[in-house]
């Protein structure tokens, strides 16, 4: 904590005077993991990033580029070694009810049925009663109503991740962090999940930061695609995706800007990898 307090005189709070004040602002955020065997491991070089309220941002980058580190810092699971993360006018230094996390491969608890998994955020952290209506709404929204009593092992990967998204939304957070949520799914299921996520996002207008390996997934979902370099992670480029919504995979690839965007992201990634 002391390092944060003394570091970064160049990391002021996002100025209140700006017209579009970001919901989340990363200022010079870096992370070094202390490792006994390998010494210090620099996972993330100083990063600056703004997320406006309601933004859908996708982060693409090679494996081990610090994407997940960045997400862990935003989720309050880790503390940055340098810099600050602002959520509104507060500094994130621990988990917050304003942030929901969707984990890789759903990460449901196998001993709880779907309903109990989704209700988990409403049962823990000093909460007393579970608002059943809230869970019903979430189940309905994601088409899981009939599966409320099933256990995760009885569900397909896509349905498991639907439940994972419901769980992340249970506390009605303003921000949704998704760590390669559909990476374990087959291509078709993944496209269907992308469409559903877009629908959910258009309805609920959360601020989303989604990490992915897939360039097409990033372009399909994002307002803004952030391209990162291999470890230690840096932001190489931020690209806007000016494709109107709702988007569809049928028309996405034929959209005039799609090919150019995909080529640019790919070029950035291969350049960075060649240099690494």
């Amino acid at each position: 904590m002391a390092t944060i307090a003394t570091s970064q005189p160049s990391a002021p709070a996002p100025s209140a005077g700006e017209t579009s004040k970001p919901l989340i602002a990363l200022r010079g955020v870096a992370k070094t993991y202390a490792s006994q065997r390998h010494g210090a491991l620099r996972a993330l070089d100083p990063v600056d990033l703004d997320l406006a309220d309601g933004d859908f941002v996708c982060v693409v980058g090679p494996s081990g580029c610090g994407k997940s580190t960045m997400l862990r810092l935003l989720a309050g699971l880790d503390v940055p070694t340098e810099g600050r993360i602002w959520l509104g006018d507060k500094i994130i230094n621990g988990p917050s009810a304003d942030v929901g996390v969707v984990f890789q491969a759903a990460n449901l608890l196998p001993w709880m049925n779907v309903r109990d998994n989704i209700a988990l955020p409403l049962r823990v952290g000093g909460r007393q009663s579970v608002p059943e209506a809230r869970i019903d709404t979430l189940l309905e929204m994601t088409g899981l109503s009939e599966f409320a009593g099933r256990y995760p092992y009885e569900l397909s990967g896509g349905m498991q991740q639907r439940a994972g998204i419901c769980r992340a939304l249970a506390r009605d957070p303003r921000i949704l962090l998704m760590d390669e949520p559909f990476g374990a799914l087959d291509a078709l299921t993944r496209e269907r999940m992308n469409s559903e996520l877009q629908r959910l996002w258009l309805e609920a207008r959360k601020t989303v930061l989604l990490i992915t390996h897939s360039i097409s997934e990033a372009i399909f979902l994002a307002d803004k695609v952030v391209v990162m370099s291999p470890r230690p992670g840096r932001i190489l480029e931020c690209l806007d995706v000016p494709i109107p919504r709702p988007r569809s995979y049928d028309t996405l690839v034929t959209h005039p800007v799609y090919a150019g965007l995909a080529r640019e992201i790919r070029a950035r990634l291969t350049q960075a990898e060649a240099r690494a």
Binding site: V101, Q104, L109, Y153
Partner: protein, 278 residues
Amino acid sequence: MSSIAAPVNSASQRSRSVPTAVITLGGLVALIALWQFAVTGLHLPPYILPAPLAVLRALWSGIAVAPSSPLGWYLPLWSTLRNATFGFVIGSGFGLAAGSGMAESAVIERLLMPYAFALQCLPKVAIAPLIVIWFGFGDGSKVAVAALLAFFPVMINSFTGLRAIEPERLDLMKALSATRLETYRLVKLPNAAPFIFAGLDMAVVYALLGTIVAEFLGAQQGMGVVITQAEAVTDVAGVFAALIILGALGMALHALVRLAEKRVVHWSDRGQNQGGRA
């Protein structure tokens, strides 16, 4: 693929399961035949090896009596079962508590682990005479030895199971600002349940062993007393019959634990696609 795999699978299951029963039964018949042959063919005296029929008669003579009869199996069996069960519950309870404490606190782990291993390396039945001196010839010493033997497998399995938690599951609870107790109760304990049940499975058999050993050393009642009394009058058929009863009791207790495990840990093995790290 699946349409081909399914019938092959069930066929192979059938071809395996039927012979298993036949082999088991055949083995039993062969064993009894060999036994009978050893007795009649080799002219072994009944105080070395009684005939199968004599053992069966001894077994039946203890069954075909009133439950309250001092000649029946029921009273000593009940005494042994009761003490073993108390010992199992107490030993497992302390085992789970100690294992949890060690898993949750590095200080407790460093404090207890050396002694726990020292205890495990010590042949614990050697402590039994001491326990009989401390707790007397009544039920107390039986329960205490049973608890002592049941303690270790549950402790070490709880500890291992609670530590074997996937980091993603801890991240989930951390992201939800769950308290330590909530994380333990809702995530770590169920996650460790398969390990704990493996410990309980061992513990229930050890508790029975502990009770019998304590009964050998001195008791008013119990299956251990039945065995020592039969031995004293070289009623070897009676000893065999008591061993058969104890074997059946051990298997029944083991089956009970497995049944409880299936009820509680119904999601195990099938839930393994969960929480994988990509």
